[in-house]
Subunit: 137 residues, 4 copies
C-alpha cells in the first residue's frame, strides 16, 4: 500500500452560491493529489506523458459528506492499495481543518500508449519506483 | 420514470491538453442536464432555492467510455427512475454526434432546508409536478 | 462591421459564494460568443484548427458593471469592428434579462500556424467569408 | 508600494487542447496571488468577508505573452502600487520556470458593504496593516 498526504486550499473560484466548493471541483483536488503523489515516487505525470504514456480517467466516484468551505486548507489522503497493472486506482479521503472527513473518492485510470491510443503496461521505470511501496513481507 | 434529453456543446475551456473534455467537467454537464430537466417540470432549481430549498449533491459516479471532444454537441439523456423522497437520483447517458455512448453517470441530491441546514421533504408543488411522470397504470 | 448576438445561461458551476458569476468565467462566455459568431460565418474555429491555424488570445480586457446571477440567460453582443489581419479583435457587451448592460469586454487573438508556432495570415477561405461583413459602400 | 511573490502550479484542469493554460484561468491565478498577499498583511480576504466587506472585481486586464504549460510552477509577482481608497488595484507579473515573463495583468476591486451593497471604505484595521507598506520617507 502506498499512502500520501497533501494539502490544497479552496479558492474563491471553487465555491458556488451555496457557499460550498462546487461538487465538480473535487475532481481537480483528486488530480492535484495524485499528481503530487506520483511526483513523490520520482516519476511525475508530466514525465509519463513525455514517455508517450497518458493516463485518462475511466471511473470516478465521490461521496460528499460535509461541504468544503472557502479558504479552508483541505488535507487529501491518497492511497494506492493495489499494485498498478494496465490500470491504477487511487482512493482519496478529504479532511477539513477541524480534521473532519468531508469527502471520499475513487478514480481508476488506464495507461494508454499515446501513439496507438491503446491501453498498455506502465513503463518499467515507473513500476520499479512504485513497487518499492508494495514490498512483500 | 421521467426521461429528458438536452444538448450541450463542449467548449474550449472544457478541454485539456489530452484533447479531451477534462474529466471534472462532466459534473457540470450533469448539472446543466438536470437543471433543464427540472425547468421542464415547471419548477426550476432557482425557484426551489427561492422556496428555501437547496439540493446539494451527496453522491457522484461517472464512467468514461470514450472522450468528449472539442466543439462536439453532446446529447445528455437524463432519467429519474424513482419518485423523489428526501433524495432525488438522476442517471445520465452521454452520446456524441456519432450517437456513440461516451459516458454514463449518476448523482444523488438531498433536499435541504436552507434555514435549518437539515434534510427535508421536497415542496408539495414540486412533488405534484414531478409525480405526473410516475403515474401508476 | 460584423455583429452577432447569442445567449448563454449562467450555470451553478459559474457562480461563487458572493452569489455572482465568478469573474474568471466571463472569459468562457466570450469564448462561446466568438465561437458561435465564427460558426455563423461558415468556418468554425474547429475547422480553422483543422487547417492548421490556431487562435491564441493575446489580450483580454473586462469591465464588470453589474453581477451576472445564477440561471440568468445572458445576451452577448459580439462585434468585430475591424477586418482581421494577423490579429482579430472581438468586443463583447453582456446584457442580463432586464436588458441591463452588465459587462463589456475585449479580446485580441492572433492567427498562429500550428506547425511553425509563428503568427500567420488567416486562411483565404476565412477572409472571403468574413470580408462580406466589411463591404465598402 | 507593497510587493509579494508566490508560486502556483499549472494543473491539468487548467490546460486546454492547445496544450496551454486556458486564458480564462489566469484570473484564478490572480485571485490566489492577491489572496495570499492579503493573508500576508495579517487580514485575510475571508476575514474581510467576516467583517461584512466583500471585494468584487470591477476591472480585469491581461496580456498573454507566452503560454503557461502543464505542471509548470508559475511565479506570480503582485504589486499594490497605490494605497487603497474605495478601490484597491493589483498588478500581476507571471514568470515561468525559465524566469521568462509570460503574462501581465491588472485587477481593480471595490470594497463593498455586504449589507447595503454599496461601496465603502476599507476597515480601519485593514488600512493600518496595509499602510505600513506605504510609509512615507
Amino acid at each position: 500500500m502506498f499512502e500520501y498526504k497533501n494539502q490544497i486550499r479552496v479558492r474563491y473560484a471553487d465555491t458556488d452560491q451555496m457557499g460550498y466548493m462546487y461538487y465538480g471541483n473535487y475532481a481537480t483536488f483528486y488530480e492535484v493529489a495524485r499528481t503530487e503523489m506520483l511526483r513523490h515516487t520520482g516519476i511525475s505525470y508530466k514525465e509519463l506523458e513525455g514517455m508517450g504514456i497518458m493516463l485518462p480517467v475511466v471511473e470516478l466516484k465521490s461521496r460528499f459528506i460535509k461541504p468544503a468551505l472557502y479558504d479552508e486548507l483541505i488535507t487529501v489522503k491518497t492511497v494506492i492499495s493495489e499494485k498498478p497493472t494496465l490500470k491504477i486506482s487511487f482512493e482519496y479521503s478529504l479532511y477539513n481543518e477541524k480534521e473532519e472527513l468531508i469527502n471520499t473518492g475513487n478514480t481508476i485510470l488506464v495507461f494508454v500508449n499515446m501513439k496507438t491510443g491503446r491501453p498498455c503496461h506502465p513503463p518499467t521505470v515507473f513500476l520499479e519506483k512504485i513497487s518499492s511501496y508494495f514490498k512483500s513481507t
